[in-house]
């Protein structure tokens, strides 16, 4: 039995504790929000502590229980999991600051439930990132789905409920119908669900059978929003903006692609994956998913919907990295978890700020708003440029490695796909700030001012991060390469 590392359960329990405290404190907003902020800060500190161990090459683990022999609920932190946990943990703090400004500015109901479910979702995300085997990952993957459902349906309108049904239907349906089935099959073939470098499935079945399992995994992890199982993500946009920002641009969707990367690295194994015929099919699906989602994004007038389709397209990049299974591809995919997270959350923060300050949700209403809310739209531009992948913003690095990955694999068509997609990104993201800065401000919009201060602080932090990530990608690159090149 390996040494039990108590820091791991502590980190996951911390947001849960916060959820309980939030519930107890209830309707007194100031102490309630203080709980969220203090916990998020402590959490970030503990994650930093843990990251120190990881950089030193340690891989701490903690086993809770073993319901079925050989099938424990177990945490085991490796570099990739650390990377994801750090992203989620640091963005929770920023988003909490933002959420306070947003929820109060927007006079949302049921704020206690909101902050409580938010904390639970973060705990589930951290648990996913620490999962030591597929079984544990699956458990917390489902917890994440269920804990975010009340956030999606937060508004309580018929539209929100309908969206909630789509959300649950697709995520639960794919995970039980395909993902769990793939897990069962893996267990049956390999006799273990541990994450092991090189993959536990390598050499256990013929390539057709393994391809079938591969397809079940990639379609079963609905959170990665691979087409045609992507519709839950635009549907989830009815949620309050902080939810869309942290959960549906970072935590939930990244939990999906993170699982795919883990499966590629540790379950199927990169070398085996490259030989599977199922990979070719999936590569086509991913390429189509990337381009089609971008095209659909261009046609969305609702700002959050456009961002959601952009996310679907960008998630395709990471899925692509997992499928390429070359070292540059996997590193690029892992890096893109980080880069896209910071950039997309900035975009959502800006979208929410516009909603709070100007009560506008459609792109066609934004003419001239940039002069009324300059800080918000500068942040938006920074995020957009980082998504497109232009220097000096972090998004450049992950695209760089992904492009290298396609060359390593000799897939020139996929390289072309990435390039076309970047052009499409320009076409659907940049017109928004252009319109806001250059358009003519409508008469009735002249009274509009900037969003509440907490929102501005949050946007400032994340857009600064996008900039810094360009100059200092090293810590993230190191984690990604430690996972890919052991």
């Amino acid at each position: 039995m390996m040494e039990q590392h108590l820091l791991l359960p502590l980190i996951v329990a911390l947001p849960l504790l916060a959820a309980v405290l939030i519930r107890i404190i209830g309707d007194r907003p100031n102490p309630r929000e203080a709980v969220t902020l203090i916990t998020a800060a402590i959490l970030l500190g503990l994650l930093g502590l843990l990251a120190g161990d990881i950089y030193r090459g340690e891989q701490p683990s903690f086993t809770f229980a073993e319901p079925v022999p050989g099938l424990p609920i177990r945490f085991h932190v490796e570099p990739l999991g650390m990377l994801f946990a750090l992203v989620a943990g640091s963005l929770w703090l920023v988003t909490s600051i933002y959420a306070i400004g947003y929820m109060r500015g927007h006079h949302e109901q049921n704020q206690t439930r909101f902050f409580m479910c938010f904390a639970i979702a973060i705990a589930a995300t951290l648990a996913v990132s620490f999962s030591g085997n597929l079984f544990t990952l699956f458990v917390f993957y489902e917890v994440l789905t269920l804990s975010t459902y009340p956030l999606v349906t937060h508004a309580g309108t018929p539209e929100a409920k309908r969206a909630g049904r789509v959300y649950l239907g697709i995520l639960l349906g794919t995970s039980i119908g395909f993902f769990l089935f793939a897990i069962l099959w893996t267990w049956f073939l390999a006799g273990t669900l541990e994450f092991r470098p090189g993959g536990v499935l390598a050499g256990t079945g013929d390539s057709i059978l393994l391809s079938a399992i591969l397809l079940l995994f990639f379609f079963g992890i609905g959170k990665a929003a691979l087409m045609p199982f992507h519709r839950w993500l635009p549907a989830a946009m009815v949620a309050p903006t902080p939810v869309s920002a942290l959960l549906h641009a970072v935590a939930v969707v990244k939990a999906g692609v993170f699982s795919l990367l883990k499966i590629s690295l540790y379950i199927i194994g990169p070398e085996t994956l490259m030989t599977l015929p199922g990979r070719q099919i999936l590569l086509i699906v991913v390429a189509v998913s990337i381009l089609l989602a971008s095209l659909i994004a261009m046609r969305q007038d609702n700002l959050k919907k456009r961002l959601a389709y952009s996310t679907i397209s960008q998630l395709g990049y990471i899925t692509l990295g997992a499928l390429l299974a070359t070292s540059a591809g996997l590193i690029g995919g892992s890096m893109h978890i980080v880069m896209h997270a910071f950039a997309k959350i900035t975009l959502f923060f800006a979208a929410g700020a516009i909603l709070v300050a100007a009560h506008k949700s459609e792109i066609s209403q934004l003419d001239g708003l940039g002069r009324r809310m300059p800080l918000t739209f500068i942040a938006f531009t920074v995020g957009a440029l980082s998504i497109i992948g232009l220097p000096p913003f972090g998004g450049m690095w992950s695209k760089w490695y992904l492009a290298l990955g396609t060359l390593e694999a000799g897939e020139l068509i996929l390289l072309a796909t990435l390039m076309v997609s970047s052009l499409l990104n320009i076409a659907y993201l940049l017109p928004i700030p252009l319109r806001a800065f250059l358009g003519k401000t409508a008469e009735e919009d002249r009274h509009i001012g900037e969003a509440p201060l907490p929102c501005l602080i949050a946007m400032g932090v994340t857009s600064l991060a996008c900039l810094l990530l360009f100059f200092f990608p090293q810590p993230w690159y190191q984690l990604a390469s430690m996972a890919v090149l052991p």
Binding site: A65, P67, V68, P69, L71, I73, F135, F138, V139, E142, P150, T153, G156, K161, L168, L172, G173, I176, G177, L180, F181, L184, W185, W187, F188
Partner: protein
């Protein structure tokens, strides 16, 4: 002295307590007395299981007449396990019954109910511990007749037609079993199970034994409500008093499944049942239908007790599916699910009893806003329901995991798909309740409070145990595997 007589005490304590309770008459006296009886019975079951695990099979000659002439009580790991389930649920539900029955039944019927309950418990335990095929029939009738009484005491007048339906179907089943046992007696001249198992192979290739096999299996399948012989179950569960539903749902069908296992595996033997007779194929097809069809029907129910009754028919399908493989892994998956489902469904019906206690209804409408008004009751239903879905960390997951492994072991991977589809269906009917309870505002007209502690405590004891047995499975998996091995190896 006491430890040597445990097999007899297991049945005699509740059997004698029943008439004594009747003599006590006053409900205020009867309930504590009945509770004491069920607790004693539970202690005996625990002792029995301990003895069996320590010393192996216990053979007890009733009245000192040695088998095969006298009636033998024979306890091995399989029936000790089932007896434990029955008496544990018996004791917990009886604790709950005190408050619930006083509220649901008029005073003059309360004593009658408790007497019937004790008789039913005695009958079920008798079926489980006896080693005599005819004795099974006798106790089956004892338990069935007392169950009819309990169901008919339901407040809604429809309870009477439900009872009548149950009575007809139940009697048919019992008669079939009796005919089967009679045919076996004619051919072998014995009623002792061990003896039967030894003598049957000589005459196995006769039409009489084929018919005996058919009568017994069909009869038992009626009793255990295997689709499509489940017609009596939904109404009986829906209109019985809450306590009766919780007790019967978690024990009666489970005991019937045990009877099936005992007859098919021990008496007729695996080879005869699964190779000579096509039992495996028939059960498998029916189990698949049972998983898919009643679970779908459940989705459309507005009476929630009926909904969970249909869900029970579906869950029986899982158990039978495991048995239909005829392998140790399959049978142990079935036994595991007997135990786990007894807890989950028992807990859910107890929680529904809490709801009925406060609102007087178990219709879907009564769930409006229940997450706010009765948070603990609703949470119990959700946790129990998650178990039915088979969410990890609940007991339901463990049995489904073993079931799927048993299917994959045989190479029947499409069955794994069926099991997962069943889980999805369960998720849908559970979700209906969750949406109503947590996302609708309660009607302000009615003041609904959380149920009293006397009801919540036993409910949560059962529900918490479904979580416990989802995480710590040493007891359940260990005993179920052992029991499956005992059953399949038989007594030869």
């Amino acid at each position: 002295m006491i430890s040597a007589n445990l097999p007899a005490l297991q049945v005699i304590i509740p059997l004698l307590a029943a008439p004594l309770a009747f003599l006590l008459r006053k409900p205020r006296l009867v309930w504590p007395f009945a509770l004491l009886t069920t607790v004693l019975t539970l202690l005996v079951s625990i002792g029995l299981l301990q003895q069996v695990l320590d010393q192996g099979v216990i053979s007890y000659a009733m009245g000192g007449w040695s088998p095969p002439w006298g009636i033998e009580y024979r306890v091995d790991s399989a029936n000790a396990f089932v007896a434990l389930i029955v008496s544990a649920m018996g004791a917990i539900v009886m604790f709950y019954a005190g408050t619930s029955i006083r509220h649901e039944l008029p005073e003059h019927k309360q004593t009658l109910f408790h007497v019937a309950y004790l008789l039913c418990l005695a009958g079920l335990l008798g079926i489980v511990v006896t080693g005599d095929a005819f004795n099974v029939f006798v106790f089956l009738e004892v338990s069935s007749l007392s169950t009819y009484i309990m169901v008919s005491l339901g407040a809604n007048r429809r309870a009477l037609t439900a009872t009548f339906q149950y009575l007809i179907m139940g009697t048919l089943g019992a008669t079939f079993i009796l005919i089967g046992v009679g045919l076996m007696y004619v051919m072998t001249g014995t009623l002792n199970m061990v003896d039967l198992a030894q003598r049957l192979p000589e005459v196995a290739e006769t039409r009489t034994i084929y018919s005996a096999f058919a009568f017994v299996t069909v009869g038992v399948c009626l009793k255990l409500a295997l689709f499509p012989l489940h017609g009596w179950l939904p109404n009986a569960y829906a209109y019985a008093p809450s306590v009766a539903t919780a007790f019967v749902a978690s024990t009666a069908t489970k005991v019937a499944i045990y009877v099936l296992l005992r007859f098919v595996l021990t008496i007729f033997g695996v080879t005869f049942s699964f190779n000579t007779m096509p039992l495996g194929q028939i059960l498998m097809v029916l189990a698949i239908l049972a998983i898919l069809i009643p679970s779908t029907v459940a989705i459309y129910q507005t009476n929630i007790k009926r909904l969970f009754a249909y869900s029970s028919v579906g869950q029986v399908g899982y158990i039978i599916l495991g048995i239909s493989f005829g392998t140790v892994l399959g049978v142990s998956a079935g036994l595991l699910h007997i135990f786990n489902h007894a807890l989950m469904k028992g807990g859910i019906f107890l929680a529904l009893g809490c709801l009925y206690y406060r609102t007087g209804s178990v219709q879907l409408d009564a769930f409006r806003g229940l997450g706010k008004t009765m948070p603990w009751t609703m949470a119990a239903i959700v946790v129990g329901g998650l178990g039915l879905v088979g969410v990890p960390l609940t007991a339901g997951f463990i049995s489904k995991w073993y079931l799927v492994m048993a299917a994959l072991e045989q190479g029947y991977w499409p069955l794994a798909v069926v099991v997962l589809a069943g889980s999805l269906l369960a998720a849908v009917y559970l979700w209906k309740l969750v949406e109503m309870a947590y996302f609708q505002q309660p009607d302000n007209a009615t003041e609904v409070r959380e149920a009293p502690l006397a009801l919540l405590l036993p409910t949560w004891l059962v529900i918490a145990s479904t979580i416990y047995f989802g995480i710590n499975t040493d007891l359940t998996i260990g005993v179920a595997t052992l029991a499956a091995e005992t059953l399949i190896e038989g007594v030869r």
